[in-house]
């Protein structure tokens, strides 16, 4: 097929198809609207890309941050001498922290145990002390009579308990024992 014949066939085929499809009368307005839409789309894409980049960077920093603050090397990396020293220092620091926490715990427990004792009523404490003194004097009177046989001295000591500590239970005991000694004295006489 010669070039002229080919050109003729092409032009005939093109002409037979007719003109190009009609375009809308407001083509210019449509073009401008499409251009604006694409410009806005490009800006939104850029903004979305920036947001994604910031989010990615934030995630990366949050994942890698703790490793940097603790001095621990990332997984899969063999520590060097300086890395080992850093690990030792980190371990010592943690042990010291644990020891401090244990001491504080002991102190808190001791304070917790001591608190009930300190909470005793002072009046009750005085009462206990008075009761103890009365008992000791009563005990001395008993020993005067039982060990040395000094009845009069024992009766005088019982009377001292009755006079000095009349509100205690030992005053009643002293009264009974004085009465007993008095009876023994009367029987003897």
């Amino acid at each position: 097929m010669k070039e002229d014949q080919l050109a003729g066939e092409l032009r005939e085929a093109d002409a037979a198809f007719g003109p190009a499809p009609a375009l809308p009368e407001d083509l210019h307005d449509r073009v401008v609207r499409r251009w604006r839409r694409r410009r806005v789309g490009r800006r939104l894409s850029v903004a979305a890309g920036l947001v994604a980049a910031v989010a990615t960077a934030g995630t990366w920093l949050s994942l890698t941050g703790p490793t940097k603050t603790t001095g621990l090397p990332p997984e899969g990396v063999h520590p060097t001498a300086s890395g080992i020293r850093a690990l030792d220092a980190a371990a010592d620091a943690r042990l010291a922290t644990v020891e401090r926490m244990l001491v504080l715990g002991e102190r808190r427990r001791a304070l917790g145990a001591a608190a009930p004792a300190q909470a005793i009523d002072p009046v009750e404490a005085v009462r206990r002390q008075v009761d103890r003194s009365a008992y000791l004097i009563l005990l001395r009177a008993d020993r005067l009579y039982q060990v040395t046989g000094r009845r009069d001295a024992a009766i005088a000591t019982y009377q001292q308990v009755i006079k000095t500590f009349p509100q205690t239970r030992w005053a009643e005991v002293a009264r009974q024992r004085e009465s007993t000694l008095q009876q023994q004295t009367g029987d003897t006489l």
């Binding site: 005939e12 037979a16 190009a20 083509l27 073009v31």
Partner: protein, 197 residues
């Protein structure tokens, strides 16, 4: 058919200067100037797009893309080529992009819409034979790779000289001649075999 082409090719220096002035005004953001460009060149752009894409039923989308790209690139238009040549180059690029998108779409949808059936039913007589012959010619052109179809459309249908085609496609004159020779050879092989049937 070739009125537009001859009109464009016979642009006087005064017309070219007028186009450059309008383009400069449009580049400065004058909407009216860009509307003038669209109104003056939409016919030829639509015709070239129609032929380059293989005579489809719808070309408005691609034509809009051509003028959107032109609006975007107007600030960089320096007037080294005439406004019609510059618009033709944009149209060729947009047709290439459209063709790529169509190929991707066809791969996924498995729809050969570009090679659709003939629009007119077959009728008896010599007129029907002519229609069939024209259909075969158009199908042969459609089967050409786009880079060969471009030179065929611009040379034989738009009646542009090789120098003008070289400016539009940003090629050397000899490269355009080579492509045209290959396109002619393939078309001749394709059509001669079918016409003999």
């Amino acid at each position: 058919m070739t009125d537009g082409a001859t009109h464009t090719m016979s642009l006087t220096g005064r017309q070219v200067g007028l186009d450059d002035t309008v383009a400069a005004r449009a580049a400065r953001g004058e909407s009216r100037a860009f509307a003038q460009i669209v109104a003056a060149h939409q016919g030829r752009v639509a015709r070239v797009v129609h032929r380059l894409l293989g005579w489809p039923d719808e070309v408005e989308d691609v034509v809009q893309d051509v003028f959107v790209a032109a609006l975007k690139s107007l600030p960089s238009f320096r007037g080294e080529a005439s406004l019609p040549t510059w618009l033709l180059a944009i149209a060729v690029n947009q047709c290439r992009s459209h063709q790529r998108r169509q190929l991707v779409r066809q791969k996924f949808l498995a729809a050969a819409r570009r090679l659709a059936a003939p629009r007119a039913p077959r009728t008896a007589g010599s007129r029907a034979m002519d229609r069939e012959k024209h259909q075969l010619v158009r199908q042969a052109v459609r089967r050409l790779p786009l880079r060969l179809r471009e030179v065929v459309v611009l040379h034989y249908l738009e009646e542009m000289p090789l120098e003008g085609i070289a400016r539009v496609l940003d090629l050397s004159r000899s490269a355009v001649g080579t492509r045209l020779h290959r396109a002619r050879k393939r078309l001749a092989e394709d059509l001669s075999g079918r016409f003999e049937e």
